[in-house]
């Protein structure tokens, strides 16, 4: 046990010294205690999902009780299969790209359940392209994600296709319909 404690301590100190990742310690701590299940690539969740964590950002709320949750947090209901930087943290919104980028017309589409009204919504995760990695609010959730052989269900592709530039900046999560049955 003492060996693991020493190891954990070294991990924590090295992290605190070496990076500015706000919630990595929370992630590692949770993982070691067995809570696990936190997104890994490349670093955990957007900081605002760990309330009170050092450097966490103020929540972005829609103001509509039918669209609840923090749009800067990986836990927001629309982000159930997102992979990338949240455009809400990059100068865009949940459904629009930041200025200076180009929204990719080719995209991947998933379904997420909105607990506020119990519906499964069809969400389009268009990428915003032509500007380098936003670097803010990285999230990777993979509900319904499948291997690349099924492109419409895989979020590992750079979906900056059909745009002037394939440089990836961030991803939106726009509602494009309601699924009759959640798949």
């Amino acid at each position: 046990m003492s060996g693991i404690d020493r190891l954990t301590e070294r991990f924590a100190r090295r992290l605190a010294r070496g990076t500015s990742r706000r919630s990595v310690l929370a992630v590692l701590g949770a993982a070691i205690t067995g809570a696990g299940g936190f997104p890994l690539l490349p670093v955990a969740r957007a900081a605002s999902s760990a309330p009170g964590a050092p450097g966490s950002r103020p929540p972005m709320l829609s103001g509509n009780p039918q669209d609840p949750g923090d749009q800067a947090s990986c836990d927001y209901w629309r982000y159930c299969a997102i992979d990338g930087f949240l455009c809400t943290c990059c100068g865009g919104t949940v459904n629009s790209c930041p200025p200076g980028t180009e929204m990719s017309p080719i995209t991947w589409i998933g379904t997420c359940i909105n607990a506020a009204d119990g519906r499964a919504y069809v969400i389009s995760y268009n990428d915003c392209c032509g500007v380098s990695s936003c670097g803010q609010c990285f999230c990777n959730r993979n509900e319904g994600d499948r291997p690349q052989a099924r492109p419409q269900s895989n979020n590992d592709y750079n979906w900056c296709l059909g745009t002037q530039s394939s440089i990836y900046n961030c991803s939106v999560a726009a509602i494009v319909g309601v699924a009759d049955k959640a798949k």
Binding site: I4, L7, T8, R10, F11, R14, L15, G18, T19, R21, V24, V27, L28, A31, I32, G34, A35, G36, G37, F38, P39, L40, L41, P42, V43, A44, C80, A81, D83, I106, G130, V131, S132, S133, G135, F138, N140, R141, N142, E143, G144, D145, R146, P147, Q148, A149, R150, P151, D156, Y157, N158, C160, L161, Q164, S165, S166, I167, Y168
Partner: protein, 386 residues
């Protein structure tokens, strides 16, 4: 004791110096001075593909000596913009398939394979890929393969139309393109060909003639259940057999030595107590193999729908032929990618989300060395040098 001796020697030294002339200055150092690596990397060395999420267009491959705790990073090779990487020991070359823009993020696009010299890490040449359609994806080895005795390379394209560009590395020119609709990733197969996973769960094996055109193909139906037992994309190689693991821990091996892939008897990673809800593989590069043909699988106790990229906290060692779980290695934290060296005493190399790389004894599971986050920001794929 030691402190006293030190003070004493300083005093003595000081008094001695004050009585004589000071020591000669440190010598002048010759410039320019640039390091050089051995052309053939030792078995403790690993190539680490740094996807570099915060700056994807500035991706790299880090050459790392896992045995050197003081200076593990030996050098960097460019691997720009969702690049893919291959390494040929025999050719003494590293290859990166990359994408560039004339104004960094905008302008005219160029896709190319760059050929790097293993000793100097300088580019020896490049082969431009036509069409600007190289597949850009978070790192999968199936986007870029060496075939035909490392004389040719395959690069997958995705526009979203799917095809494969065939490249002659010796002549440094493109031979042609194989249309491959409905399928993703290629794995070197037979004397001069590849196998690919298709959307209907099948696998197609294709052989090429000496000009790079398709000369034969065969389809194996139902090798992958994309809904219930989907396979992680990065396999572990045992000779020319590619072992894949499913999201739920089923192991599927394919003998790729002949012109058509030959599925082997599936195996399982086995079980363990403490699953909450259940043990499943998790992470990015979750599969590794050792020289004896054992498989190493990165496992998480928190497995559920959607957890397959969340990382793992243990590595399970499995004999896929006898279908036996041999031992479990506690990684003391969450990791995303693993590989195993071909040293006489093999080591399990573990990469974590924040760039930390740790080294475990592959047999005993003991932590041997922590390299720190000294080589890569986003180490997604690791390839041992031997």
């Amino acid at each position: 004791m030691r402190i006293t001796a030190l003070v004493l020697s300083l005093l003595l030294g000081a008094s001695a110096v004050s009585a004589q002339s000071p020591p000669p200055p440190l010598p002048e150092e010759a410039l320019p001075s640039v390091g050089r690596l051995p052309a053939d990397y030792p078995a403790s060395w690993v190539l680490v593909h740094d996807f570099r999420f915060l700056s994807i267009l500035d991706g790299r491959v880090a050459v790392v000596d896992t045995a050197d705790g003081v200076r593990p990073l030996k050098g960097l090779v460019r691997a720009a913009q969702f690049a893919s990487m291959q390494y040929s020991r025999g050719r003494r070359e590293i290859f990166t398939a990359e994408t560039f823009y004339s104004r960094l993020t905008r302008g005219e696009r160029t896709d190319a394979i760059t050929i790097w010299d293993t000793a100097t890490l300088e580019p020896k040449g490049e082969i431009v890929l036509p069409g600007g359609k190289r597949q850009q994806t978070v790192s999968y080895v199936g986007q870029f393969q060496l075939i035909n005795g490392d004389r040719w390379a395959l690069v997958t394209n995705f526009t979203p139309a799917q095809s494969v560009t065939v490249v002659d590395l010796d002549a440094r020119r493109v031979l042609g393109e194989v249309d491959l609709p409905g399928c993703a990733h290629v794995f070197a197969t037979g004397p001069r060909g590849f196998s690919s996973f298709c959307a209907d769960g099948s696998m197609i094996s294709v052989q090429l003639d000496d000009k790079g055109a398709v000369v034969s193909s065969a389809t194996l139906a139902r090798v992958q259940d994309l809904d219930n037992q989907p396979l992680f994309g990065n396999p572990a190689m045992v000779g020319r057999t590619a072992w894949f693991v499913s999201y739920k821990g089923q192991l599927k091996g394919f003998d790729l030595s002949g012109p058509v892939a030959r599925p082997l008897t599936p195996a399982s990673v086995g079980t363990a107590p403490g699953g909450a809800p259940e043990w499943r593989p998790g992470g990015w590069q979750v599969m590794a193999s050792d020289a004896a043909g054992l498989l190493y699988v990165l496992m998480s106790p928190a497995g559920r729908e959607g957890s397959h990229k969340d990382g793992g906290t243990e590595v399970w060692v499995v004999d896929p032929v006898r279908n036996q779980q041999l031992r479990r290695i506690d990684l003391k934290g969450v990791a995303g990618s693993i590989t195993v060296t071909r040293e006489a005493t093999p080591h399990l190399v573990v990469a974590r989300a924040d760039g930390q790389i740790d080294l475990f004894d592959a047999a005993s599971g003991q932590l041997v060395r922590q390299l720190g986050a000294t080589a890569a920001m986003s180490p997604l794929i690791m390839v041992p040098a031997q």
